[in-house]
């Protein structure tokens, strides 16, 4: 009888163990939507303003067919305007000093395509920047899925920012962008070939969108938020920089990014909002119903950085360096060990702050 109970119990656990809830799914192929995509920013940073125009393609391809020959103009509320320069197909640039970014002034772009279609962004007023007070990191547990999709508990470096948002009736609206740069030193694989230092840019939370809208009425109070979370791995054997760009954005831009956040972070749960097209702020002047993808963002920014090195990171979590050590090298050597410039987002020119 005891054995029978054990068998039943074992059967139960066995069957429950088969319960794999999430799996990739192949949908029927659908006709791709070829829609105009406009993406660009006009910010207070002292650098060129960049804007891209293209056409979208099939899902999962992230296709972007550049739209060449467009006339792109930036208009300011004070009557000034400037024309973007197309340097590569679909890539348009505006010099930093072409039009001054003035807080409280509104700006919009106008795009005239070669086929006669004309697009425009809704005018957006440049918001005042909100200063970042502090940046700090903590090491905390979190979940991470391995290549088989199995979720495990791992340790993460969390980058936390602190600020005191101003007290105002609506807003401020803030978006945090982050960037992680770490150094990678390759090996001297050939005779006389020196080892090279590469600086690799990483976006650990590429699909995470960190926003603030002031709706919690904590204006005037100290406020903390985790804006980046990177799983501890072998890159933490080297020095790392974490940059946080705190951008004050418009209310409409906040609406756009909130909706993008809902789209990109679907988990299929009962709490997911049904997906829908996200409309940006670009419209066809002749046909308002046409969906134009992307956004032209007008923002002011503040930046803070923090650095970590191996001293701060638990050894057992870091793992073995990618190219091993002088006592033991992996065979064959992983790509990049002899020439780190082949790695994605790699450069041998250190960032200006390094």
């Amino acid at each position: 009888m005891k054995l029978r109970h054990s068998l039943i119990f074992g059967l139960l656990l066995l069957l429950l163990g088969f319960n794999s809830c999430i799996e990739p799914f192949q949908f029927e192929r659908v006709e791709p939507a070829e829609l105009l995509v406009v993406r660009g920013q006009f910010t207070t940073t002292q650098s060129e303003h960049h804007l891209q125009i293209g056409t979208s393609g099939e899902y999962k391809r992230v296709a972007f067919v550049p739209e060449s020959g467009a006339l792109v103009e930036l208009f300011a509320e004070d009557g000034n305007s400037a024309v973007y320069e197309e340097r590569e197909a679909g890539d348009y640039y505006l010099a930093a000093n072409s039009i001054c970014a003035v807080i409280g002034q509104s700006y919009f772009i106008k795009i005239s395509l070669t086929d006669g279609r004309v697009y425009q962004s809704t005018p957006a007023t440049l918001p005042a920047p909100v200063a970042l007070d502090q940046i700090a990191f903590t090491i905390e547990d979190g979940f991470s899925a391995n290549s088989l999709g199995v979720v495990l508990t791992k340790q993460f470096v969390n980058i936390n920012v602190a600020l005191t948002p101003p007290k105002q009736t609506i807003g401020p609206f803030i978006k945090w962008d982050t960037e992680n740069v770490y150094i990678f030193i390759d090996l001297s694989c050939g005779p006389g070939e020196p080892a090279r230092d590469c600086y690799i840019t990483d976006f650990p939370n590429q699909q995470d969108i960190f926003l603030y809208d002031g709706s919690d009425n904590i204006g005037g109070q100290f406020f903390q938020k985790t804006v980046l979370s990177k799983r501890i791995n072998e890159t933490h054997n080297y020095r790392q920089y974490y940059s946080v760009y705190q951008k004050s954005i418009t209310e409409d831009a906040h609406r756009y990014w909130s909706q993008v956040d809902q789209i990109v972070n679907q988990v299929g749960s009962i709490f997911d909002v049904p997906p829908a097209p996200v409309r940006g702020n670009i419209f066809n002047t002749e046909d308002r119903d046409e969906i134009v993808l992307g956004y032209f963002e007008v923002s002011s920014a503040d930046t803070l950085r923090i650095t970590t090195d191996a001293r701060f990171i638990p050894f057992e979590q870091r793992g073995r360096p990618r190219c091993g050590n002088i006592f033991q090298r992996p065979d064959p050597l992983p790509s990049g060990c002899c020439e780190c410039l082949v790695l994605d987002n790699s450069t041998d020119i250190p960032p200006y702050y390094w």
Partner: protein
Amino acid sequence: MGKNLLFIILLVFSNSLKSQDSYNTPISGSYENVTLFELLTTLERDYNLTFYYNPDRIPYYLQSFEFEKKSLREVLNITLEGSNLSHSHYNEKVIIILPRRELTRENADELVRAWEAGEIELPTSTEPREVEFTFGESATSTSKNYSLRGRVYDKYSQQPVIGATLINESTRDGTATDAYGKYELSLPAGSHQIFIQYIGYQPVRATINIFQDDQLDIPLNVQSLELTEVVVEAKGAGEKVRSTQIGVEFLSPQKIRELPSFLGEPDVLKSIERLAGVSTTGDASAGFNVRGGNVDQNLVTFDGAPVFNASHILGFFSVFNPDMLSEVALYKGNMPAQYGGRASSALTVSTKDGDFQRFRGRGGLGLVNGKLMLEGPIFKNKTSFMAGVRSAYPNWILRQLKNEEVRRSAAFFVDGTAKITHKFNNSHQVSLTGYSSRDNFEFAGAYGFAWTTQLASLNWRSILTEQLSFAATAVTSTYGSELFEPSGFSAFTLTSGLNYQHFKPYVFYNPSAAHQITLGVEGTRYQTQPEILSPRGERSTVAERRVDKDEAEEYALYLNDDIKIAEGFSIALGIRYSGMRHRGPKTLYSYEEGQPINLTTQNDTLQITDNQPIQSYSGWEPRISAKVSLGEQSSIKMGYNRLRQYIHLISNTAVATPVDIWQVSNRYVPPQESDNYSIGYFQNLKKGLWVSSLEFFYKDSRNLVTYKDLAQLLLNDHIETELLPAIGRAYGAEFSIQKTEGRWSGSLSYTYSRSFLRTQGEFIEERINGNEWFPTNFDQPHQLDITLSRKLNPTNTLAVSWTYRTGRPTTIPVSDYDIQNVTVAHFSQRNQFRIPAYHRLDVSYTVDNTRARRRGFRGSLNLSFYNLYAQRNPFSIYFRKDVNNIQQAFRLSVLGATFPALTYNFVF
């Protein structure tokens, strides 16, 4: 063993020598729809035979036999075929019937001893009790019709028997008792055979010699529980053809218990979902959809009290304890005028009264859930109680699983129901039902939610005169929900809820056999609780925030009359006038005329003080159903209902969640209104052994609530800026056939149902799919449910059910693009694609000794497999980057495996 073998040999030998004559007794006759007990009793009487058997161990399903000069041996061989019983002579007079494996000397001796000592309690006969009454004298009579009124009641408890049928056997015309057990028959002068029956009671065949108006109260004897089970569908069978109302379904607790269930726990809502015209959007879906209606369009009442969330643990269990129920009725699209406030259906769930005579209990223990119910007299025959508690505790299983997220998840619910009933006398009764529950669900320590319900319902029933009865229900209830993130800087708790008080008095007037009139009023006061966001834990930097909600009163006045126009033709006419008043306190926002309602067009803010009226709505709701009988076993019915709904579930998720918000109608959210048309053909075959129906429905709706794309609803004090009014239409056909009796029983129901919405906005943000019709989230055209139950022997039952549903609509990406390092999918128009179809096979095997007549502790064991072939039915399809940073479609299956369950149930 040797001893038993010897006994069997001796029995066989002795049979051949001594009892050849008895065994060779020629039997002739036709026995239709009889149980084995009835057959044996008849044979004993007609052929002077004696059978000894254990009444608790013989089958009670109905069988039909035709014997033409068959020997008794052949007759017994035929009738016991397929069962585990065998027969043999014990001595010259006695034939014993025992389970084959128990045919031993000791058992035979013991059986004979028990019979001869009078210890065997025989079941009540299913043969009708014959009675005769004479009213007046024939000499004084005329040719006019006379009225016979009275009530049908339980002889044991004196409780009225509701829904008992009284059929004139010569004309096949009849009536049914009302909510007070009352009836009225109109009979021509003369003698009539009236057949009175109700499930679980011995039928009565009354010979009525009537020559004047008079009254007759008819007591019914309770049958043995086995017999109750046999005729469990009889009410449904008869009612479907006879009642004037179209689109009504009844479910008995026993039927609910027989169906295979998730984790072995029988469930009202899961059983409802198997009915034609009822669907659900997936495994983790709270609520159900009726005839293309949203989940909030179903009025769910529990002892008269509206229930706003009838689900536990994401819809896997309902809040109703099946051990405590007396009846479940579902009105699909067409409902009598006494029900209203919802635009699709009414589901009424009633508890039984506690036992007035003795203490009893019922309970169950499963691997992840348990329950216990006790009932008994407080003052014998005057006051009774019933109290039950249920709980689910799946956490220990979750902790065994490999998946880290699931291991760190937790789910739990507990609920308690209690009822006290007091009878002042046979005419006046009061009962108080209380219900309380708490649910908790936490996912991977990342987020969680909890919800609670407290409800009290006071019900008064009085029979004032033979024609007039009065009833009233008073309810107070609180529903609260909580969404939380347990830790971190952003840890929070968000609470919301709804309080309401409800009062519904009505009278039932039965002036003649041709009219059954219900007249009543009802009122409900709603106070939606504010949404309150508060920090959780010491590290949280979330600030407190509060969004105030609405207060309103809803009221209705209604009149309903079931009118018998002529033989075989009846109509149910109803009219309901309903309304609501939205009132302060409220911060009311105004928006520019001729502009879309959004934050940029807000132009004014008004502070409305306490009780100051803001907006009122009211309107008429006509109801009509008609039935034309096409003989005894078939009818055609049709119906039209207008339904208005003043409270709405605000939920922009694929399925309803426990933390969705209930919103009363206000300036920006007018009442939903639907016009429901239906027509159906109802046919019983083989005297109700088979029950079939074919119904068609069409629904036209206005002011339905839909949502702007990616609407944000939580903590939104401008929630009207996210809502869109829509018109709706739904249509379809439902076919259902059931076999209600016999060793094999079961049902097949097929539904074709479509459901669409259409916005009529002027501005881009107010137009969904360009103002074209689009399918609702629950538009599932094809649905097929098959249930089969096989009684292997009196205690063992195998039940199998299979469900198929078209996949529900979804929206999928048709392109994607990068912006600021984020890859964004661009989605199609709303609901233009479908997720794969849903199908599932469930099996259960029950060894049930709880229905044995002996008193004391009795148990049953249920082994069930939910989703036997481990179909990974998609709950949702979603799109995001995978662990390798590649855009991917994923399928989430909530129950992607077989779920076995072993449950022990007991009664005492």
